[in-house]
């Protein structure tokens, strides 16, 4: 399968933060969700992918091309949505369109009009009067109006109310049904991923924790609940991390079938949410340290 985004051993350090030997790939034609807490390096990674930051070391290739030689070519094929307003606030959407359309060789006014109508966006109101939801829809409209093959979004759903969020995700859903696009977006709202993500990349403290298919997560991971007496040195090894309480233990495993084999009916096995996985994986990393 073709990779649209490829980061290999990327290092980037700032004062008080470091992306360490970070490698990841995003596959063509799928939706990949990029999850992690606040300040763990999601935006830094997206800025590196957008060439807004340059890595200290390591390589980044988009569509198999590098930014050094193919910057404009790559950017022609990317649509982007950031979590804050990046447009000129004192302009209207029509004026903004006039400025941005000149940058893209594939700009399509019909597509622009289609999304403006679909999102019920005002064309002649100043952008600074837009609500957060309208802002996101305007960004997405512009991102989708030049037939981009890759859509990169940094926390597009944060700050949106639940109805808006559903609408936004629906648009992405429809987009994936009809066209051969690749979507990569970061979020810390893990329920966003349940409905649309094919792949999930988990980052924590500047390190890549895992990349997995959503279905694979469902097959492999499980939340296990049982009596504390069941835990000993051997059984503990099967868990990523364990939380004990007076009522027993609750733990995350990445090997569901093995647990079923080991404990049978003695434990309760539940489907984990992505939030559970994030929580226990993070805890586990601290635990092992």
């Amino acid at each position: 399968m073709e990779n649209v985004i490829e980061l290999r051993n990327v290092n980037k350090s700032f004062k008080g933060f470091q992306l360490k030997d970070f490698s990841m790939t995003v596959k063509k034609g799928f939706v990949t969700g990029f999850i992690g807490g606040n300040g763990v390096g999601k935006s830094t990674t997206i800025n590196l992918i957008m060439n807004l930051l340059q890595p200290d070391s390591g390589t980044i290739s988009i569509f198999g091309l590098n930014y050094k030689q193919h910057e404009k070519e790559i950017k022609q094929r990317i649509g982007f949505v950031f979590d804050d307003n990046i447009f000129y606030e004192h302009l209207t959407l029509t004026e903004m369109r006039r400025i941005i359309k000149r940058a893209y060789s594939n700009w399509d006014d019909n597509l622009f009009r289609y999304y403006v109508e679909q999102f019920e966006l005002p064309l002649n109101k100043k952008i600074k009067t837009f609500s957060k939801g309208m802002m996101m829809k305007a960004s997405l409209t512009i991102a989708l109006s030049h037939h981009a093959e890759l859509i990169v979004m940094d926390e597009p759903t944060s700050g949106l109310d639940p109805v808006f969020r559903r609408e936004f995700l629906d648009v992405l859903h429809r987009l994936m049904e009809n066209e051969d696009k690749t979507i990569f977006f970061s979020t810390h709202i893990t329920t966003d991923l349940d409905s649309i993500a094919d792949y999930i990349i988990f980052i924590d403290k500047g390190q890549h924790i895992f990349t997995k298919e959503s279905t694979q997560i469902e097959e492999e991971y499980a939340i296990v609940k049982g009596e504390t007496e069941l835990l000993d040195a051997d059984t503990k090894k099967e868990f990523i991390s364990i939380r004990k309480s007076n009522h027993g233990f609750e733990a995350l495993t990445a090997n569901k079938s093995r647990i079923e084999e080991m404990f049978g009916q003695m434990v309760l096995i539940e489907k984990p949410s992505i939030e559970d996985i994030m929580f226990y994986t993070k805890k586990g990393a601290e635990w092992h340290v």
Partner: protein, 202 residues
């Protein structure tokens, strides 16, 4: 890159409609083209720059299919275009109100002064924020006041004489030298700004 320059002109359109009557007003009462042209050019170019200074706008421009080199170069080429537009407006104003156009030497001097000022200001702006340039202006003003009050009391006369000397110069080779050195200075500033902007974090 032409798109970026075009964008600046479009964004500046409204501002120019306010500045144009002001420019004509000055020309009516005081046809000192060098000073007026210089001030208007620099003010317009600074205003153009200030509009793009926001980190969000930088994020936009650099996510669009432009290179950082183009973003900086558009400002340097745009600065020359805006200066020439001011010259054009001065010619129109001169013809309208005084039935004469500014002398070519005055125009040359005005364009040169703008280019020199821009050569110093733009790299500074790429390195620091606009708020610092006001502090820098204030600092220069204080230095200027100290110099004329304590060290060179007739600095203004010297400057005036210097301008007069340039305007009365007849030797074309001196002009050529001046133009060449300004071009070198401008190009150096241009390259320096590209260098500063290359790794800037927004």
């Amino acid at each position: 890159m032409c798109n970026l320059i075009w964008k600046d002109i479009v964004l500046q359109k409204k501002g120019s409609l306010i500045l144009l009557p002001a420019l004509f007003g000055y020309i009516v009462y005081n046809p000192s083209y060098i000073w007026i042209g210089f001030v208007f050019s620099v003010v317009i170019i600074l205003d153009v720059f200030a509009k793009d200074e926001d980190s969000a706008v930088n994020k936009l421009l650099n996510s669009l299919p432009y290179t950082r080199r183009e973003v900086v170069s558009s400002k340097y080429i745009g600065a020359i275009i805006f200066t020439l537009l001011v010259v054009f407006a001065m010619f129109i104003g001169g013809l309208l109100f005084h039935r004469e156009v500014p002398a070519w030497k005055e125009t040359m001097l005005m364009v040169s002064l703008s280019m020199i000022a821009i050569s110093f200001i733009l790299p500074f702006l790429y390195k620091f924020k606009t708020q610092y340039i006001f502090r820098a202006f204030l600092f220069l003003f204080v230095v200027y006041m100290i110099v004329i009050n304590t060290f060179i009391k007739n600095l203004n006369d010297i400057l005036r004489e210097f301008v007069q000397t340039i305007l009365t110069l007849q030797d074309p080779s001196v002009f050529l030298m001046m133009i060449l050195s300004i071009i070198v200075l401008y190009s150096f500033s241009w390259l320096l700004s590209i260098r500063i902007y290359r790794n800037k974090v927004f």
